[in-house]
């Protein structure tokens, strides 16, 4: 189905994005562009609109829910069944050859799709080696991606593949916004008429691009230009040479568009703005942690290996350059060799889980230092009885969200909080991305297309009875599905008198609220258990509504004894229940306690010994656990450490949090 696309030339504003896109049209060596920014800022409109200003190039879209066979290509089962021929049915990577490949919401793409994309982008070729088909074809394309960083981060390998990076923002100018409305409505009311009205402008732009393309081979790069690019890249702290290559190529494109045969300083500086930001030392907001989980890293390794194999010797000098640069910079081990950014992250495994926090930081700043006034009330209530001399001030304490991510202590907590990424889904939910042979198991989720392809080559020797196809057990393929999940955190909070009596509860609430805030952004699920008096209570079953958890916490009453064992026991039950229902869930227990237990003595066992026993059960089941140790004062019993020996989790102390500025009061306006 053809659809009418809003003309590129008619998009008001967004000059940065337009420049970056045009440079890529003029000079594919720029290496693509990633448009990142808030929703509703014409990212997709610009990308889709590119087609009309090129000379017959298409914008091939990569849908989010693409399956492997359609992306890389697969045997055409229909031809195989009917004609007995093994023919490749080309996938999107072939269609994209010589064209523009546009991936909307590129940060939400399946891992396999990202891998395939990276492989093709690196080698310029797509190799199909499956189902009795063995072939390779060119797959050189301008890669355009768009994403909203709120939705999740991008793998560093993929980010590095984009030559340019542009942050797109909404216009803040009234007349500009009016113009945007006007044009959009005109377009919707009469698309064809609108296209006609903009035909002249579109044609002018198209000519400009064509002229620049013709000029490009004559645009030369002097030693000076190269040096400037290199020094800019070095200043920006880029590793590898991809950054400066992108700068030079983009500057050439800019010069060509301007009708100059030599890029001037302005061209280079302009190009550097787009080419270096995402490669600079602390990458911008869009990078995701390296995929956690063994599966993924294995896959990455495998993929890189394949990429190495498939690369043919005549693959162009540019690629060689990049190879050289990464090889000289890094070791020779597996997935990291090709990719400076990846190994950068890889060096410090603790960085892995939560990724850089710039995005949250900038968001928090926009929101007025991330202050949530709702928190103050609770803190006040909790802290009514306390004095005011400490580092906590009455009315107005809250915690800056970004600190959570920078701090090592928090990393410990969040690392425990499960895999926040794509996981293999074992039930029938999730996105079907690829398949595997069925083996001996009972088949419930048949990948029919793959099964047909597997059966196809044998049809001429099989008895088909009345059907067009004869399928045998060995042909059966099962779907592999991926599901995006957040983490799952079960808070177990000590609400006994000792907590309420001093100001600890106030700190604890604030710290937990900060964690909740973090979960909110990650779309984690949370639950909450409180223990006090004679029992533990499930205040909140596992839910996605982090707001509810926050309300429960605010209104948490304190007092009574400390039935720690009961709290842990309930947590154990909740977690086991969840694991039964959702085998792939990987919840983490966050115990907020000073480790003290009190209450009725069992026959010959103290309440603490009882708690140790439950802790051991949790540890034995390999349930992830973090203890937020709230013990304070001069004399410490380090009970939490003893608990943790059994739970085999991580202990984080309030002091650590305080030292890292997490439990840090920010004076409010009131």
């Amino acid at each position: 189905m053809k659809r009418v696309v809003f003309p590129f030339a008619a998009v008001p504003g967004q000059e940065k994005a337009k420049n970056a896109l045009l440079w890529n049209l003029v000079n594919p060596k720029v290496g693509g562009v990633l448009l990142s920014g808030e929703k509703g800022t014409a990212k997709s409109t610009l990308a889709r609109g590119l087609a009309v200003i090129t000379d017959g190039q298409k914008v091939v879209e990569l849908p989010l829910n693409v399956t492997e066979d359609r992306l890389v290509g697969a045997v055409d089962f229909s031809r195989a069944l009917l004609d007995g021929q093994s023919v490749l049915e080309p996938g999107i990577l072939m269609e994209a050859d010589g064209n523009i490949l546009y991936a909307d919401e590129v940060n939400l793409l399946s891992d396999f799709a990202v891998n395939a994309l990276l492989e093709a982008a690196a080698s310029g070729r797509n190799v199909v080696e499956r189902e009795g088909i063995s072939c390779a074809h060119d797959s050189r394309f301008v890669l355009i991606g768009s994403m909203n960083p709120e939705e999740g981060k991008l793998r560093p390998q993929l980010l590095d593949r984009f030559g340019l990076y542009v942050e797109v923002e909404g216009e803040k100018d009234v007349s500009m916004r009016v113009e945007i409305m006007r044009r959009r409505l005109q377009f919707e009311q009469d698309p064809q008429g609108f296209l006609r009205r903009w035909e002249g402008e579109t044609l002018r732009l198209k000519k400009k691009v064509l002229k620049a393309r013709e000029l490009l081979p004559e645009v030369s790069v002097t030693e000076n230009v190269r040096n400037l690019a290199a020094s800019l890249a070095a200043d920006a702290g880029c590793c590898g040479h991809r950054g400066e290559i992108a700068v030079v190529e983009a500057a050439r494109a800019a010069a060509a568009l301007g009708g100059r045969k030599l890029p001037n300083t302005e061209d280079i500086r302009e190009a550097a703005k787009y080419a270096l930001a995402h490669r600079a030392g602390g990458c911008p907001s869009v990078v995701s942690p390296v995929s956690p989980g063994n599966d993924d890293s294995e896959k990455d390794g495998e993929q890189e290996e394949n990429a190495g194999k498939s690369r043919s010797p005549e693959d162009g000098a540019k690629e060689q350059d990049q190879e050289l640069s990464s090889e000289s910079g890094q070791g020779e081990n597996g997935a990291d060799t090709q990719n400076p950014a990846a190994s950068e992250t890889g060096k410090n495994p603790e960085d892995g889980r939560n990724g850089p926090g710039q995005e949250e930081e900038s968001k928090a700043q926009r929101n007025g230092s991330g202050k949530a006034s709702g928190w103050n009330d609770s803190a006040d209530r909790a802290g009514e009885a306390m004095d005011d001399d400490g580092d906590l001030q009455e009315g107005g304490e809250t915690f800056l969200i970004p600190r959570w991510q920078e701090a090592a202590a928090v990393r410990k907590i969040c690392q425990g909080s499960g895999r926040r990424n794509l996981i293999r889904s074992k039930d029938r939910q999730g996105r079907y991305v690829r398949y595997r042979p069925a083996g001996e198991e009972k088949i419930s989720d048949l990948a029919f297309d793959a099964t047909l392809r597997a059966a196809a080559p044998f049809q001429n020797v099989r008895d088909k009875r009345d059907c067009a196809v004869a399928i045998r057990r060995g042909d059966m393929r099962i779907k592999i599905r991926e599901k995006r999940t957040g983490g799952c955190i079960l808070f177990v909070v000590d609400a006994s008198a000792s907590m309420g009596a001093n100001r600890r509860m106030r700190e604890v609430k604030a710290a937990v609220l900060s964690l909740l805030n973090f979960s909110y952004q990650k779309r984690d699920r949370v639950g909450m258990i409180a223990f006090r008096k004679d029992r533990a209570e499930l205040l909140l079953g596992i839910t996605r509504s982090v707001e509810l958890a926050q309300k429960k916490l605010e209104n948490l009453p304190t007092g009574g004894k400390t039935p720690l064992a009961a709290g842990l026991n309930l947590a154990f039950e909740v977690v086991m229940g969840l694991k039964t229902r959702e085998p792939e869930a990987d919840p983490v227990i966050v115990l907020v306690s000073d480790g003290r237990a009190s209450g009725k003595k069992e026959k010959n066992s103290s309440p603490f010994a009882e708690a140790l026993r439950v802790a051991e059960r949790i540890g034995n089941r390999k349930i992830r656990a973090v203890i937020l140790d709230t013990e304070s004062g001069f004399i410490k019993f380090h009970l939490c450490d003893r608990l943790n020996e059994k739970m085999r989790g991580t202990v984080v102390t309030m002091e650590e949090l305080r030292a890292e500025g997490i439990v840090e009061a920010v004076r409010g306006s009131g």
Partner: protein, 340 residues
Amino acid sequence: MEQKKGYCFTAIVGQEDMKTALILNVINPGLGGVLIRGEKGTAKSTAVRALAELLPLREEVKGCRFGCDPADEAHLCDECRERLEKGEELETVYRPMRVIDLPVSATEDRVVGTLDMEYAIRTGRKKFEEGILARANRNILYVDEINLLDDHVVDVLLDSAAMGVNTVEREGVSYSHPAAFILAGTMNPEEGDLRPQLIDRFGLSVTVAGEHDVRRRVEVLRNRLKYENDPEGFAKEYEPKQQELRERILAAQKRLSRVVYSQEIMELIARICIQLEVDGHRADIMMLKTAMTLASYNGKTRVEKEEVMQAACLVLPHRMRRKPFEEAGFDLSLVEEMMN
């Protein structure tokens, strides 16, 4: 089995915001659907179904899997276009607008469509088997508890809703077809919110609550019982009102293209959106379109401030940049202030 006559839209007591939002979407399907937030038992589903039933029959290409509109050549599916290009006359039938349900358990292949297995086994050929989005073309797609849908299903849903086209590149099929539907999603905010990115794709949102006024509650009850006892009689009683609304909607549909707006109105909208710091430009565009549709519904051909005001209440609340744990901060008084 003969279907029981549905409830009358005009007999629904209260819930004016929801009713208006739904009607506006019917008048102008370009509004991008409505998200209804609220607790259970607040006539959400009843209203959606009753509205579809209220509307007159419309023309469809006979035998088309996507219910193409023969008058709208720009949005014909490939199959209809091919027939047209071969010089075939497209035969038409009259059918009512339907409400297509999308259950929370729906898998992606059921939603977007997939390879037709049976056909492949019988003939060895590929055929696209249409999914829920195909049936939803030109109809209302009703998604109860949309916040509980798998994220990736919601992704494709909203993508299609925005583009009016469903593109399938999976399981051996490569196909695209028209999927222009009115998306009506409901959710109970207590069970977790939709991702902001997705919520932004909904044109309008309304919050419904149970009626707390005793007299109104009694009226709700009385109407319901009357309907259950005698659906036919009930329908007859409300037919004049139904007819009146039907005509009003049809007139508004016709009038819509003649509705004009001034520079001041556009500036006002832009200023409101800047002041409230909404992300991107979708809110501006939606607000203007909603105000135009409202004007048309109100029998006018010029957008005035009151329409902008009303549009703001439908378009902005779910687009406010939310600080975690704060109630969505839509401040109507701020908009009011700017009006004057």
